[in-house]
Structures are given as C-alpha cells and as structure tokens.
C-alpha cells in the first residue's frame, strides 16, 4: 500500500528487523480464539450499532488500573436497533419494486405536508421502469409507489428523486405500518441507483436528523480516491412545507472544522455536496422564509423506539429480576458514591445529584443483554449520577468489578457506553473510567468513578501534561483539551 516516495531507509530497516520471534504455529490458535469471541459478540442479543451522530467513545483505563476493554458494544445502542430494524424489509430482492397503481390512504399525511407530492407527476418524475436499486447499507430495496416519485434535484452527475415507499412490515420494524407510507430518496448516477434505506413516515417529518446520503458510489477496485468516489454524492434533507432554507452543520474531524452550509429548499429538499471532509455526521437547522427557525422534533422517533424496544426491555428486566448477583461489600465500601441511598436523589458537591434507581428505572443499556451478564453485576445497587449539565452516569457494582456507563446525550434510544475494571483488585485500586475519543478542536470528556482513597485524580491535558482534580464522591466528569486516540 505504500508508495515509493513514502518509503525510507529507516522504514526498511524496521521492516527488516522483526523485533519479535516468528510464531506461525500459534497464529492459527490465536485467530481461532479471536474468531470465537467475535462470533459470540455477533450473536449476542442487543448488540446493535448506534444512531448517526453518536459521539465516538473509547475505553480509557483509569490511572493505575487495567480496565477491561469491554467493547463499545457494551453500549447497548437501542436507537441503533431501531434504525437497523428500519431496514428490516423482508423482501429478498435488491431490485426496486414499483407497485400499487395509486397511492392509498397511507400516503395522505405525507402529501399534506409536502407540496412536491401535491403537484402533478410529470414524465421526468417517473423512475425508469427497470431500475436496479442498491439500498445503502446493502439491504432489500423498499417497495416504491410509482405515482408518488418526484424528480426533486438534478445536481451535477445525479438525478435525485423523492419517493414514497410502502411501510416495512414484521415484528422488528421501527415504524408501525399504521403510521402510513414512508419517504425515501432514490439517486441515479452513472454508477447506478441507490437509496439509503431509511424510510420514515409523516409522523417523523419534523425530525432534523432525517438527512439522506444520495448517490454514494459503491466502492470498487481500482484505487480511486475518496474524492473520486464521492464525485456524485450528496446529502439530502427532506423538509415539510414552510421550510425555506436548511443549514447543514458538520461534525468536525480532527483539526479541521468544516464551515456550515446553508442551502435554499426547492421541491421540499435541500441538498449539499459531500466532500471527503464532510463525510461525517451532520446536523440541520431549518429556517422559514422570514428567517425564523422552524421548530423540529425528535419525539416521534423516540416514541417509536420505546415502543419497539418494549418487549426487549421486558425481557431484560425479567432477567435482571431473576439475577441473584450481589455486589461484593468491598466495592460498596470502597466507593463513596454508594454512600448515597436516596431513591429521589441527593445533591452533593459540584452540583451532582446521586440517586439509587430501582430496576425498572434503569435504562435498557444497563440491563442484562449488554454488560450485565458478562460481568456479574448487581443491578439492584446501581447509582445514577447526573451532572449540572445533564450528563448522566450509571455506576454499577459487581461481584468482582465496578462499571461505569455514560449515557449518550441526545440519543433517543438510551444508548450508553462505558467501562469496567478488569478485576476486583484493579477496581479497588483505580475504579472504572471512560473517555470520549474527542477531537483536537473540542478536546475530550473523561468520566471515571474512583475509590474514596483517591483524593487526587490526574487528568491528562496534553501528551505529557496533567492536571490534578479532586473528585467529589469519587466522581470525575471533566473536559480536557487532550485528544484521546
């Protein structure tokens, strides 16, 4: 993969001298063991990825401990389940199915909110009869209602259609079919036709996170650069009537803030070109013609996720109730956070509120199915810590460990990430901790629960720089300019 100009005699020297004995005989065994662990993770319940925009977090061992690198999958990303389930169409074909001679009542709510659907369909609005659509990520394509396709934009290299699809059915879908038909985008470029696969009904029309990737080229061999692959790729925000402009704000990558882009709405969509720099998550703000911000809401999706997760939550609670795991007294004594036993919460220093939630009050992320089964945690002795800024942590004691969960802020499904100490000894020595990977611009957040013997916590603020902070009740929620890798 290296290019000639990137090689150097020092590199060659390092390549030539392997500072480790060759041990191919053990490689098979090591890889087999790793495969078994991956398979366990792939088949574990509740292992679902996060919603778009979730901030990356990585484990970081608290000082002096060997934190178990519980994967990000400890994060039971409930919202992600919903998004994935959204693609749960059961039709096996990847070809778009154009069905239904006319829109049924299911599309009425969408038609009422989108002027583009109320205008007459022209010949240009019609999708080609034989269209092979790749649904991204690769999923069976939804069934498109042909009379409700509209050509909404023709940026260079692409034709972008707003389409209405039949709702997915089955036991694992996010949106109830009773909410009616769903919106989607089809992009036709030289490299084929794509949809992103995440349809949503009229009820979710005011969710500002509904931004589609349109025209993403499927990767191909040949070494094309990212810029070349993204040549015909756009972000498309579908907005209801009354929205005149959309401001796209991009999550900055390390050391490269990307300026926001404001785009005029036409045909109920606002589109912006994707560049390699702006490929990350995006937020939008909607503006009316008079410049006022148009209110948005994520409530519909939050509700839908809660409904969809209800059976899973029931099962998880049941499993938690059956568990007889009890936290070791050494853990409960070592950490001041467990001194607070109020169900409603008590205020402690630094404005934190510590409470002792009941089992039904625990978020799904903390319940069995995620970390609990693996670490033998005592879910009846959990402490919830809420910071003045609203950041919520759950501290969970176990038979041989202590864990810390950081709830995702703004996540609609109660996603969380966190870490556990690797052993009882390391728990008692250093507690458990977690940090966001952060960016050079924004820095990182550090979260930790440390034993009461730790009066000074060393917060890393640079490659070789630290700041001492004094945790209140052993809780550390701190920002650092340092970018954790």
């Amino acid at each position: 993969m290296s290019t000639a100009e990137e090689t150097h005699p020092v590199d060659e020297l390092i390549r030539a001298v392997r500072l480790v004995p060759s041990a191919d005989a053990t490689e098979d065994a090591a890889v087999d063991a790793a495969r078994r662990r991956l398979e366990a993770a792939m088949t574990a319940p509740g292992r679902a990825p996060a919603v778009q925009g979730r901030r990356r977090r990585r484990w970081r061992a608290p000082a002096g401990t060997v934190a178990v690198a519980i994967s990000c999958g400890v994060t039971l990303l409930v919202a992600g389940i919903a998004v994935i389930a959204l693609g749960g169409h059961r039709r096996p074909s990847a070809d778009a199915t154009l069905r239904g001679p006319a829109p049924g009542a299911g599309a009425n709510a969408l038609i009422a909110k989108l002027a583009v659907l109320r205008r007459e369909q022209t010949a240009a609005d019609q999708l080609p009869a034989k269209l092979h659509i790749t649904t991204l990520p690769l999923r069976p394509a939804p069934a498109i209602i042909p009379s409700l396709s509209r050509l909404v934009a023709t940026p260079p290299g692409a034709r972008i259609y707003l389409v209405v699809t039949e709702p997915a059915r089955g036991g694992d879908v996010l949106w109830s079919p009773s909410l009616g038909d769903q919106l989607n985008i089809v992009a036709i470029t030289d490299s084929g036709a794509t949809t992103e696969g995440f349809g949503y009904p009229a009820a979710d029309m005011r969710d500002p996170r509904n931004v589609y990737l349109a025209g993403l080229q499927r990767p191909s061999a040949g070494g094309a650069s990212v810029a070349q692959r993204l040549v015909d790729t756009y972000r498309v925000a579908i907005v209801p009537d009354g929205v005149a402009r959309v401001r796209f704000m991009f999550a900055g990558r390390a050391r490269a803030a990307i300026p926001p882009v404001t785009v005029r709405v036409a045909n109920n969509v606002a589109i912006t070109k994707i560049t390699p720099a702006s490929i990350g998550p995006v937020r939008t703000i909607w503006y009316a013609a008079d410049g006022h911000i148009v209110p948005t809401s994520t409530a519909a999706r939050t509700r839908a996720i809660a409904i969809m997760n209800a059976p899973r939550r029931r099962d998880a609670l049941e499993a938690a109730r059956r568990s007889h795991v009890t936290a070791t007294p050494a853990i409960l004594h070592a950490f001041a956070v467990f001194d607070s036993d109020s169900r409603s919460g008590i205020h402690v220093g630094d404005g934190y509120v510590i409470s002792h939630p009941t089992l039904p009050e625990l978020p799904l992320s903390v319940l069995p199915g995620g970390l609990g089964q693996r670490q033998q945690l005592d879910l009846r002795d959990v402490r919830k810590v809420v910071s003045p800024s609203g950041q919520t942590l759950y501290i969970v004691p176990g038979m041989n460990t202590i864990c810390l969960f950081v709830m995702e802020r703004g996540a609609t499904g109660g996603g969380a990430s966190g870490g556990c100490a690797g052993s009882l000894a390391s728990a008692l020595r250093g507690g458990a901790g977690e940090s966001s990977s952060g960016t050079a611009i924004q820095g990182s957040m550090v979260y930790a629960v440390v034993p009461r013997t730790t009066r000074n916590y060393k917060l890393q603020t640079g490659h070789h720089a630290f700041r001492i902070i004094h945790p209140v009740d052993g809780i550390v929620i701190a920002h650092t300019p340092f970018q954790f890798g």
């Binding site: 790793a34 792939m42 690769l138 050391r255």
Partner: protein, 198 residues
Amino acid sequence: MVMADLSDDAVIGQSLQTPAMFGAIFDRHSRLVYRYLRRRVGEDLAADLTAEVFTRAFNARDRYEPRGDSAVPWLLGIATNLVRMHRRSEERRLRAYARAAVGERALVLSPPGGSSGDLDDRLDAAALAPVLGEALAALPARQRDVLLLHAWADLSLAEIAVALDLPAATVRSHIRRTRRLIENRLPQHADPRPETRR
C-alpha cells in the same frame, strides 16, 4: 452477490442488516491484524487484542466511514488504540528484545517483501536491532504508532491518517520527525540502507 465480490465497505454495510456478514471482515483481515499486534505487544497479548479489535469493530460498524475498499486502516486504528493501553508493556518488550539481541544477533529476520534477501544485509539489520529497539521504545507513543503502522503494517500515509484520525500533514510531519530521531540514534557508521546495497 458473491461475498468475494464485495468490498469491505459493502460487507460492513451489509453486516448492519446481517451481523454474521461481519465474519467476512474477520476472515479477510484477522491474520494481518494479529501479526501487527504480535509485533507490537507480543504473542500473548496479541491474541486477546485481536479478538478485542474485531469485537469493537463489529460493535462500532455503524460508525464506519467508507473511505475506500479496505477496512484495514480502520481495524489497525482500533488495534493501535488498544496497543496504547499497553504502551508501557510494549516499551518494556522493545527494550527487552534490544537487550536480548546484544551480542548474539539472535533476532529473527524478516526480509522486506518476504524474499530471502541477502544474508549480509540481514545480519547488518540484525546488528542494528538493539539500537532500533531502544529507539522505538523511546519514541513518543503517537510517533511510534505512525512509524510502525507504516513500516510493519505497510499502511500509506493517507491510510495512517484515516487509522489514527489525524490530518495527513500531521502524519507526514510525525513520520519525518520519527525517521530523523531514529537515524540520529543509529551508530555513525551504520548504513540504514540494507536494500540499497542489493
């Protein structure tokens, strides 16, 4: 569609719907990841970390940003972050190997490109191993990451930038600085160019 036809990006995308698909990513890259980790942290830890890399990757696959056909930079980025948790043990290991190499030239040689190479060149390289081990151990962690991803995992500078989520210019500057540091630590008479004498 045949799995072999799908790029890593496509397989990871498909694994969002069908988690088992992610096994293909493991099959394609697990040995490469394991070998990289083995070089950096030794056999015992490498096996464990390889499993952790793929478990983390699986659980974070929704955040995977397609940037090309190969998921290798992404996987090695995760691996490198895990190695950083074991930075001290890696440094101890490098120094231990450096000490072990002194006097006996017992280091195992791995000629570039996998060819047998010229024996003299290989011995020259082995002779420099103690210095190299010390030099690598003394490098700041980030610079060591950059250099070893390049030299041991064969990532291009652009791929390292993806792996470590760093600007390409920073990677370039790291690697320049690191090479200079290593060169300065080599004995004056040493020629760090085993390849050029072939």
